[in-house]
């Protein structure tokens, strides 16, 4: 009986030790987890689509040209806009490049300031404007996406303007075909997402020319400054 109690006591002691050892080993495990998350925000950008094309000018020139895939900061001197310029239009075509991972809206806001004092000075309505053909091409571009051009396209097209029979002044008459339609931020173009899942180093995108035109006329003499701001958003 004494032997039995001793054995039982030893056994219980051993069991206690093993229990403690088991507790020590509780920290051990055969599995571990790595949880991960990531966020993709809507992203849009506008850059230059390349060099500006200026035509029909008399004097003037492109002061600061566009460089493809660089921030859009173009400066153009349209030259002489009086009747001494015998061309039918002075036209500047500014290539834009848009990229987005979401549906986008391209808006424009323009101001026209002339030094003249009469209604014959150059005003916003005398500056024709329109967006040309929209191009989605290249690897990584959502070529199936569609776009809606809110302007009437090339303002020099015959369908987009004519001489006013009463005043004799040339007018850009089509929908959103001159800068008076953009005295506040106004949509010029919108469409589906532009880029598939590709890195930003991919330089492809949506390109569209922004076309500005002025018909040389007997404007009041002076100088004119035209400032245009393009903004792209993902509503």
């Amino acid at each position: 009986m004494k032997l039995s109690r001793r054995v039982i006591a030893h056994a219980l002691g051993l069991a206690t030790l093993l229990f403690v050892a088991a507790i020590v080993s509780v920290g051990q495990t055969t599995t571990g987890t790595v949880s991960m998350s990531a966020t993709v925000s809507k992203f849009v950008e506008i850059n230059s689509g390349g060099a500006v094309t200026l035509s029909g000018n008399s004097g003037g020139g492109v002061t600061t040209d566009g460089v493809a895939n660089n921030p859009l900061a173009v400066s153009i001197n349209l030259g002489e806009l009086g009747p001494s310029n015998s061309n039918s239009f002075v036209t500047a075509s500014v290539p834009l490049k848009l990229r987005s991972n979401a549906a986008y809206v391209l808006s424009m806001n323009a101001t026209v300031t002339s030094t003249g004092t009469t209604s014959n000075k150059i005003g916003a309505a005398d500056v024709g404007f329109g967006l040309g053909s929209v191009t989605r091409s290249g690897t990584g571009v959502n070529t199936a996406g569609t776009d809606t051009n809110a302007t009437s396209g090339d303002p020099t097209l015959a369908a987009n303007g004519s001489v006013n029979g009463a005043s004799g002044r040339y007018e850009f008459t089509a929908v959103k075909s001159n800068l008076s339609a953009f005295s506040s931020s106004t949509t010029a173009l919108n469409g589906a997402f532009i880029m598939n899942a590709v890195p930003k180093s991919n330089t492809n995108g949506l390109t569209v020319p922004a076309i500005f035109a002025i018909k040389p006329q007997f404007f009041e003499n002076g100088s004119t400054t035209i400032s245009v701001t393009f903004t792209v958003t993902a509503p």
Partner: protein
């Protein structure tokens, strides 16, 4: 009656000993402090101590082009111990996005490398080596290529994980008789994750990986 009691108690003791020994055969833990680079608004949390469980949370942050870094890169050190030949497997749940332009499993580069002994109680075997399994035996951040569709690709990614997938195996890791959790009696390897910021469709994504150590191919030490 007394003899029967003794036999019963000894049986219980033997069972306890057996269970304890089994519990100490294999172990996986943190292998050190995880790190993240190239993130915008991202973070990684996990224990720097080899004595703590492997519980890591990675927030890659912004992975649209708004993040101008070329890659978001996370290194997670993982500690392993064993008193027998072992293998490490991994399973993954997510990311799951129906939109093909959103983040997909193939967009998360995943690789393992850099097996290193913890210390003096780490077992060094000469007859067998620790094997990182293909295609995971690479650093995904250093092998990014652009596919024909313009999308970034990696030698291995979460898309290569199918069910429980073996990524590592080898001989006994621990010198001591038990794989109890110490700072010097096993090995540490790196699990690496990489995402290249791209024009992904907007949204949030998440995934969970589970690493498991178990008995592996019976190789000599």
């Amino acid at each position: 009656m007394a003899r029967l009691s003794i036999i019963s108690i000894l049986s219980v003791v033997i069972l306890c000993a057996s269970a304890t020994a089994e519990a100490q055969t294999l172990d996986i833990s943190s292998g050190g402090q995880p790190t993240i680079t190239g993130a915008t608004g991202g973070s990684v949390t996990g224990s720097s101590s080899l004595l703590n469980d492997l519980t890591v949370t990675i927030n890659f942050g912004e992975i649209s082009p708004a993040n101008t870094n070329s890659i978001v890169y996370v290194v997670v050190p993982i500690g392993i111990r064993s008193t027998q030949a072992y293998q490490v497997t991994v399973t993954v749940i997510g990311p799951s996005n129906a939109n093909a332009q959103a983040l997909q499993p193939a967009d998360v580069g995943f690789g393992v490398n850099n097996m290193q002994a913890m210390g003096s109680k780490s077992n060094v075997c000469t007859n067998s080596s620790h094997i990182f399994y293909s295609p995971f035996n690479n650093d995904p951040s250093s092998s990014v290529t652009i596919g024909a569709n313009g999308r970034a690709t990696y030698p291995s990614s979460l898309s290569n994980i199918s069910g429980s997938t073996v990524i590592l195996s080898g001989p006994v890791l621990t010198k001591t008789g038990q794989a109890s959790r110490r700072t010097d009696n096993g090995y540490v390897f790196n699990a690496m994750f990489a995402i290249t910021p791209q024009f992904f469709a907007a949204g949030t994504s998440s995934a969970t990986l589970t690493f498991t150590i178990s008995a592996g191919p019976n190789v000599l030490c």
